[in-house]
Amino acid sequence: MNTVVLLKRVPDLVEDLEVDSSGTALDSEHLKLTLNEFDDHALEQALLLKEGGGGEVTAVALDSEDVDKMLFTALAKGADRALKITGTGAVNGTSELAEVFAQALGSVNYDLVLTGVQASDDIDGQLAPTVAAKLSVPCIEVITGVEAGDGSVTVHKEYAGGVLAEFEMTLPGVLGIQAAAQSPRYAPVSKVRQIQDSATLDEVAGAGGDNGKFSIVVMTPPETGEGAQMLESVEELIAVLDSKGVI
């Protein structure tokens, strides 16, 4: 089974996010991008499927800051091929991103497309179902388990409260991965550096999207309302617990 993993770089939430003077975009000067953690799970799940039943894994990402390293890391982890989509410029939102990915997938032979269930910057929907709709293939979101079958996959979709629904999905299709069967593996930097020197990234020119059907009015930190009453010491904390009658 050949699997494609769509990887997306998102703002790193470890950093403070600042909005630029327009009020409608993040301040790029202080912006650090990192791989969407759910996409990392999608990649892990793809690698597990390959290790379990063969096939190839192709990692696909849009050209952006540090994307080469991210793709070489995917190769170091065990992906067979890395595809960089170039020349798209800034992409506005999930719908446009999905359009770019869907077009790029035209040049790839795949059975299954995996990507993260969501991303912290999903303004206009999630990537997996959006790409699937554009490709006119089935999709299931919030997947925590995938088993390869013959021309199909059996998956577990997670609902609130830990209830799982088992589905069978005919391939080709798309899955939005919530969690891989194991934590995403670590790619030793030595290996990444070695791959960087020996492997190459495939490139494909990206076609522009539909520019999205929304515009950002303003980005603001959430109102804190009254906010929390800040405690300065454990004594104060004990007083609070005492007042709530729990100690």
């Binding site: 030793p188 030595s190 550096r193 070695q194």
Partner: protein, 436 residues
């Protein structure tokens, strides 16, 4: 209410693979599943399968693992065995002879590279060389304890093991009451380029020491600057813990930073940074004059002494030699010279000091294997050491390695020595006694 969890996902490799453990076992109605199961190993040794021994000793750098002739001199010197770890170079050798795959074993991760074994080993079985290359091989195979893996990921992503924002490395400087020149913002030649280090920059107790250092430098009129957010982890612990590529990336970065700013010498807060810059960076193209802060200050003891106007109240202070300042780099005097310069400070020695100094457990990546190691040992190395400090009657345990303040403070608590022993960085002691 004690809780028991029913875990289905196992992420760590915490058990010695050389032991056969039944999934469950009940004897006379008592469930002895799990770690007590070792009794089910066949008592007779039925094979000496040396495949794994040969696999290991074929790794360049790990050859000497096969040289052990079981004299066992390493055992009493090994801090891990002392702390009930059932561990030591001789035992690793024997387990290898019995078929253990070190790359897939708990034994790979317990060594702190303290070099006590090498100090006494007549065959020069060199764990300091063996462990990093063996671990690197294990890391490539994906066999890494989860704690350590998280550290690698944090360092790879953010340049510090805490996983904190790289930009916030300089955050402590903004709050400091000392005058600190941040070279990327305020470039120009300086005498001293101070390599602050992760713990001084990010850890609460480390920041205390960093501020103390800045104040002492100010008082001595040291012409110094720091790299601020451009600094990254020195990489020594990552190298020793088995991520040579990550080490190289960090070293390349730091060397480039060091070369960008004109300076006479680098002064470091930590022994690991000292070891890396002194002994490892040259191979990466970075030749620099580097001093540990105790060495730098001990050289100026005559200027320092008149500034030490306060009293240390005749408190008894004992000093813990950091492995990477002492045994690895031969510096035993500078820290003691500084402590002896403090008025009304009574310096006493622990039984295991200088060349024989005990290890805090944080070296060689141990800092990020604390939970893993604690599970394998009857006590933490830091706890063993704190007990010794208390035994010799010390009021203060003085350290000069940024890993150690938090390690030993935790150990003071866990050994119920709260209030009996204070852990202070030497720079904090100097700062306290500078009057105001």
């Amino acid at each position: 209410m004690t809780e028991r969890y029913n875990l289905t996902v196992n992420t760590g490799r915490e058990k010695d693979q050389s032991f056969v453990e039944k999934e469950s076992a009940v004897i006379e109605g008592i469930d002895v599943s799990g770690r007590w199961n070792r009794m089910f190993v066949p008592r007779e040794i039925q094979d000496y399968d040396l495949t794994n021994m040969h696999k290991l000793t074929a790794i360049p750098g790990a050859e000497s693992m096969g040289w052990c002739y079981q004299c066992a001199q390493c055992m009493p010197a090994c801090p891990v065995d002392t702390a009930g770890g059932d561990y030591g170079p001789r035992k690793i050798f024997r387990r290898l002879e019995l078929g253990m795959d070190l790359l897939d074993s708990r034994d790979l991760w317990l060594c702190t590279t303290c070099a006590n074994c090498l100090r006494v080993c007549p065959k020069e079985v060199d764990m300091i060389k063996i462990m990093p290359v063996a671990r690197a091989a294990a890391v490539l195979e994906g066999n890494v304890p989860a704690e350590l893996l998280e550290m690698f990921q944090n360092v790879a992503e953010y340049g510090n093991p805490m996983g904190q924002s790289a930009r916030k490395r300089a955050a402590w400087i903004r709050k400091s009451d000392a005058e600190i020149r941040v070279l990327p913002k305020d470039p120009g030649p300086v005498d001293v380029l101070w390599f602050v280090g992760d713990f001084y920059a990010y850890h609460g107790r480390g920041v205390d020491a960093a501020n103390a250092m800045a104040r002492v430098f100010n008082a001595l009129d040291v012409d110094f600057g720091v790299l601020g957010a451009d600094e990254r982890t020195d990489g020594d612990s990552q190298r020793l813990a088995g991520e040579p590529g990550l080490y190289e990336e960090l070293a390349e970065h730091n060397i480039e930073q060091f070369k960008q700013h004109e300076h006479e010498r680098i002064v470091v807060s930590g022994p690991h940074a000292y070891n890396a810059i002194k002994n490892e960076y040259p191979a990466m193209g970075g030749e620099f004059e580097v001093e540990h802060y105790t060495q730098f200050l001990a050289d100026q003891i005559d200027e320092l002494k008149p500034l030490l106007t306060g009293s240390f109240g005749n408190r008894k202070v004992t000093f813990h030699d950091p492995c990477y300042l002492g045994r690895h780099n031969g510096e035993y005097d500078a820290p003691r010279d500084l402590l002896e310069a403090v008025p009304d400070l009574d310096l006493i020695e622990m039984y295991r000091c200088k060349e024989q100094g005990y290890c805090c457990g944080g070296g060689g990546g141990g800092m990020w294997l604390d939970g893993f190691a604690a599970e394998q040992q009857s006590e933490r190395l830091s706890e063993n050491r704190v007990k010794e400090a208390v035994m010799v009657g010390a009021d203060v345990l003085a350290v000069c390695c940024p890993y150690e303040v938090s390690r030993f403070e935790d150990a003071v608590k866990s050994t119920n020595n709260d209030g009996k022993l204070e852990v202070l960085d030497i720079i904090e002691i100097l700062d306290q006694c500078m009057g105001a």
